[in-house]
Each structure stands twice: as structure tokens, then as C-alpha cells.
Amino acid sequence: MDASQNTSNSVDHHLAEEHQKYFTFFNVSIALIMLTAIELVIVYVPIHPGIVMGSLVVMSLIKFLAVIWWFMHLRWDMILCTLVFLSGLIIATGTVIALMLLFSEDPSGAPMI
């Protein structure tokens, strides 16, 4: 098996894979725009604010994960990249949530929790 054939094989393989990715990216970006549009509309819809809040959180989470999963190639990369990123993401999320809870105040300005 000579080297040139091998190389062309690998390039073909690359091409096919990248071609496949194009459609994935296109679908993802359409989904992202749809979600953004829904987000923009839903805040004006007269339903319970809790539901709006919840769906906003869920939708932006989906958008967030879609971008890192497909656009940022985590789907195709080694699991290690995901783990490294998740270490930061989890600690950052935990910190934000903890801070939000710590700043639940009573009227005098002292923390309640």
C-alpha cells in the first residue's frame, strides 16, 4: 500500500465527514435562530412569569449546549476537552447560584439565608 493512495483515502474520508458536518451546522444554526425568536416572543406572552422564566432558562441552556456540542466540536473531540471545560463550567455555575442565594436579603440589608 503506497503512501499517496493512503493520503488520498484519508482526505476523501475527511471530505465526506466535513460535508456531513456542513448539514449539521446548518441545522443547528437554524435551530438557534428559531429558539432566539421564540425567546424574544415568549417574554411578551401573557402567561405565568414562572413558566416564561423556566422556558427562557431551558432554551438558553439548549442554545449554549448546542453551540459547544456541535459548533465547538466537542461531539467529535476527545472526551478530555469536554471534561476540562466542564470543570470550569460546573464550578462557575455553582458559584453563580451560590452567590445568588447568599444575596437573598431581608429588608434591613442583612443576608437571610
Partner: protein, 205 residues
């Protein structure tokens, strides 16, 4: 059978203990760190929104159509970025240049929207860094994001220019991918900011 990897410079770069290229791994570590940067800024903003909900009439200040438009622009630039990385991996330089150019163009539009938004807030709505605590946290948070976007544009622009020189090699696809990771991250941060800074204000509790 080692000829396969020997001939593909991109596979060559993956010859590390974990199989992930050095630059990519360092970039992911940086992005993990950047999560904490933005986590801290976003919590500062949200804490003060929570403590002082009525400090400014935020809905009156915001222009959600413009912000929705710039969010759309940033998402599109992210799409084009994904395509340029794909093209770079195929070593399809013309396609990569067009997509990179589009990414940068959309990035510039986003930045333009932000500049317009800032000057509108400052001059028409009297919201400045020192007008209220909302101004402080809002401008520093979105400004930091804007600085990230500007750096990203500079970085991608460098690669666009570099791709026209004959020093550009197949291995540089990795560098474009790493710059792309950064760009996508700036995008996902905006997804969060768009929701928790802008949209949430419009919910009437």
C-alpha cells in the same frame, strides 16, 4: 502502516499523550477559566439587579429589537465560523477565506450595534458608568464581552490575512480551529447575557 499519520500534518499534531493537540487543550483550559471570568461578572450584575430591582427603568432603556438583531448576527457569525473551521480542515482555502471574512463582517456588525447601543444609552438615556449601580454593572459586563469580541475579530482577521501569505500551511487549520473555539465561546457567553441581562427584564412578575 505508519505512513498514514506521517503524511497528514494534522494527525502529526495529535501525537500527544492524550491525542488532543496541545493548543486545543490549552484553549479548552482557557475557556474553562473564562467561564469563571464571566460567571463572576454575571453574578455581580444579577446580584445588584436582585437587590435593587427598581434602580433604573430598564425596559425603557433597552432596545430589545436591536439586541435581538445583534444576537442573530452573532449566531450567524458562529455558524460561519464553524464552516470556516470545516473548510480549513478540508484545506479549502478560498472557502475558508470567504467564511472567515463573513464571520469577521458579522462580528463587526455586532460590535457596531454595541457601540451604537452604548452611545444611545449614554447620550439619550443618561445611563453611564456612574449614573447608577445598574450602569456600572451593565457597562462593565457587556463591555468586557465587547472587548472579547474585538479581540476575536483581531485574531480571526490575522488568520484571514495570514491565509493569503505563502507561509500559511495545512497545520494552521488547527490554529484557525482554536481561534474558532474562542469565537464560539464569545457567542455562548452572549447567549447567556442575552437571556439573563436583557430578556429577563421583560418578564412582568
Amino acid at each position: 502502516m505508519s505512513s498514514h499519520t506521517d503524511n497528514d500534518p494534522l494527525e502529526e499534531l495529535k501525537k500527544t499523550s492524550t491525542g488532543v493537540e496541545n493548543k486545543k487543550l490549552a484553549m479548552w483550559a482557557f475557556l474553562a477559566s473564562d467561564c469563571m471570568f464571566f460567571g463572576t461578572l454575571i453574578s455581580t450584575h444579577l446580584i445588584y439587579r436582585k437587590v435593587y430591582p427598581d434602580v433604573e427603568d430598564v425596559i425603557d432603556i433597552f432596545d430589545i429589537e436591536l439586541t435581538g438583531f445583534s444576537t442573530f448576527i452573532l449566531l450567524m457569525s458562529s455558524f460561519l465560523m464553524a464552516l470556516s473551521v470545516s473548510a480549513a480542515h478540508k484545506n479549502n482555502l478560498p472557502s475558508m477565506r470567504w467564511c472567515l471574512g463573513g464571520t469577521i463582517f458579522f462580528g463587526l456588525i455586532f460590535l457596531g450595534c454595541q457601540v451604537y447601543e452604548f452611545q444611545h444609552f449614554v447620550f439619550d438615556k443618561d445611563l453611564t458608568l456612574s449614573s447608577s449601580i445598574f450602569g456600572s454593572t451593565f457597562f462593565v459586563l457587556t463591555g468586557t464581552h465587547g472587548v472579547h469580541v474585538a479581540l476575536g475579530i483581531f485574531w480571526l482577521g490575522s488568520w484571514l490575512i495570514y491565509s493569503f501569505t505563502d507561509r500559511y500551511k495545512r497545520e494552521n487549520a488547527l490554529d484557525v480551529e482554536v481561534a474558532g473555539l474562542y469565537w464560539h465561546f464569545v457567542d455562548v457567553v452572549w447567549i447567556i447575557i442575552f437571556t439573563v441581562v436583557y430578556l429577563v427584564e421583560y418578564i412582568e412578575f
